[in-house]
């Protein structure tokens, strides 16, 4: 497929600039980078010549034990090209730049990744929990989150002074 070879070539050029690694799993091109390069990578991918990846389809967190990954599924409005960008984020201090400046649609998706994994998106306009309530403790989709039996759970939220 011509389109795919062209995309692979572009991704490899970009990988050289951002210290990334290119992989291919089940036909999908994957670019692995470190968190500080994310804005540079996404901006470049959005304006690839001939094969722009200008449609942020999905953004999700991934817990790999010793570190987190933020997975961006990029595709295009006008072509079949698809690219998966994986940014590795430190587990102790999970901070990454927000993609909301590039795509407004990253807003809810980043809030979800923050809610479920505790990943901080720097520059996000409204980084609050989205599914869980604001004073919920812990990050449910982390692998070390303890799902206790329902009998042990404090189902009634304690009222605070002045509520």
């Amino acid at each position: 497929m011509e389109n795919k070879e062209l995309l692979k070539q572009r991704v490899e050029e970009l990988a050289g600039k951002v210290n990334g690694e290119v992989e291919e799993i089940l036909g999908a091109i994957i670019l692995k980078i470190q968190a500080p390069y994310i804005i540079e990578t996404l901006t470049a991918a959005k304006s690839f010549a001939d094969v722009p990846c200008d449609f942020l389809h999905d953004l999700a967190g991934l817990d790999l034990g010793d570190h987190f990954e933020v997975v961006y599924q990029l595709t295009s409005w006008n072509g079949p090209q698809r690219l998966r960008v994986k940014a590795s984020v430190d587990r102790e201090n999970p901070v990454i730049d927000s993609a909301t400046r590039i795509w407004q649609g990253a807003d809810f998706l980043e809030r979800e990744a923050f809610d479920m994994f505790g990943i901080q998106f720097k520059g996000h306009p409204n980084l609050k929990r989205i599914y869980m309530w604001d004073d919920f403790e812990g990050y449910p989709l982390r692998k070390d989150y303890v799902t206790e039996p329902i009998e042990l759970r404090n189902l009634v939220r304690q009222r605070k002074e002045g509520e």
Binding site: I25, L26, F55, H57, D58, V71, W103, M116, Y131
Partner: protein
């Protein structure tokens, strides 16, 4: 005393409210009756389906997908089982592919009928509601005779279909398809052709093409904003490349066109089902898959065109019988981002209309 400015009012709508389509809450800031700010609050129906997936086997997770967009459950099954099949490299029998298309498109029609009905209901058109729900009942009957249940049908399996439709399914399907043009005329006559309905929907809630693309909006909402993008054509999955159908697109960018696009799509779905019924071959409906599903180590992302937007599944496998991570990308969750932006400056009754044309199902939004 000056009267040109009223005091700001904060109004809480939902979570239990007929126009909120489930459990959705929005905090609306009003100046008089004009909306100045909307803060959508979701999560009242959050069940942690992604976390539940990690402690279940691949097969056990299929019924959970029914509970995402419960108005089009066959489509959710389809997205999930196709993702696992892609991960395992399973080829499924021809007949199963055709049956999946038939049930997928039937669920698209049913979902769009509910959308038309609930939009009518939200702008106080009770009559149209009963017409669309009457017709949807026939699709639910077809689900019931095949799978045994009506809403969360759980009809697909990894490798094929759970059941062969019984003999009475085919005449029921044929008579339904023959009646649909008349049904659409009725919906148009009783609801969308109505002057009051048009007055409530036309030019309300403009979502421009550029904004829609920047917000990653998909599905009929996108096509109502003048972008002719449909996964069934852009990246044909299953056997959609074999059928002859159009991708409807409307350029009004308003609530009316977002509703009308659903009427157009029902017509296209009927075309597809008719071709599928004509071409369906005889044969088995299940591929030979192992009893214990154990995909190889790897990861896969797959997306399908759900009736309400694109549904994506990202599955990471560690080689065991349970997935290491299942990520669900619900279409309406992403589409919902347009509400606070687009509804600003409209009256409170218009916000209800704009939210209705988004066709959000909170089972899918909240996961």
């Amino acid at each position: 005393m000056s009267i040109d400015k009223t005091e700001d009012l904060i109004l809480n709508m939902g979570p239990q409210h007929p126009s909120m389509h489930g459990l959705f809450r929005m905090v609306v800031h009003l100046e008089g009756e004009t909306v100045t700010e909307i803060d959508p609050k979701i999560g009242y129906l959050h069940r942690g389906i992604e976390k539940l997936a990690e402690s279940r086997t691949y097969t056990q997770f299929i019924p959970y997908t029914d509970r995402l967009d419960y108005l089009a459950s066959p489509h959710n099954n389809w997205a999930y089982v196709q993702t696992v099949e892609k991960l395992m490299g399973v080829e499924i029998p021809e007949r199963a592919e055709y049956l999946r298309v038939i049930f997928g498109e039937l669920s698209r029609i049913a979902s769009h009928q509910v959308m038309i009905a609930s939009t009518a209901l939200d702008i106080a058109g009770w009559t149209a509601w009963s017409y669309a729900f009457r017709d949807r009942e026939r699709i639910l009957d077809m689900y019931e005779m095949t799978a045994g249940s009506r809403l969360t049908v759980n009809i697909m399996r990894i490798g094929g279909m759970s059941a062969e439709p019984p003999a009475e399914f085919w005449p029921a399907l044929k008579s339904f398809l023959d009646d649909t043009p008349e049904m659409l005329e009725e919906y148009y006559g009783v609801f969308l052709g109505n002057e009051i309905a048009q007055g409530r929907l036309k030019n309300v809630g403009i979502l421009s093409k550029e904004l829609a693309q920047s917000l990653s909006i998909t599905g009929p909402v996108l096509r109502g904003s003048g972008v002719q993008y449909d996964l069934r054509r852009a990246e044909p999955y299953s056997i959609y490349d074999r059928f002859d159908f159009d991708i409807p697109v409307r350029y009004g960018c308003d609530s009316y066109d977002r509703t009308m696009i659903r009427m157009d799509e029902i017509k296209e779905s009927i075309k597809i089902i008719k071709q599928a019924v004509r071409d369906i071959p005889e044969g088995p409906i299940m591929a030979k898959v192992p009893k214990v599903i154990k995909p190889p180590v790897g990861e896969v992302y797959h997306r399908v065109e759900n009736p309400k937007g694109e549904l994506g599944f990202y599955i990471v496998s560690d080689g065991s019988t349970k997935p290491s991570r299942v990520r669900i990308r619900p279409g309406t969750f992403v589409n919902l981002q347009m509400l606070p932006i687009v509804a600003k400056g409209w009256k409170i009754q218009d916000v209800v209309a704009i939210f209705a044309t988004l066709d959000a199902v909170l089972g899918e939004v909240d996961k």
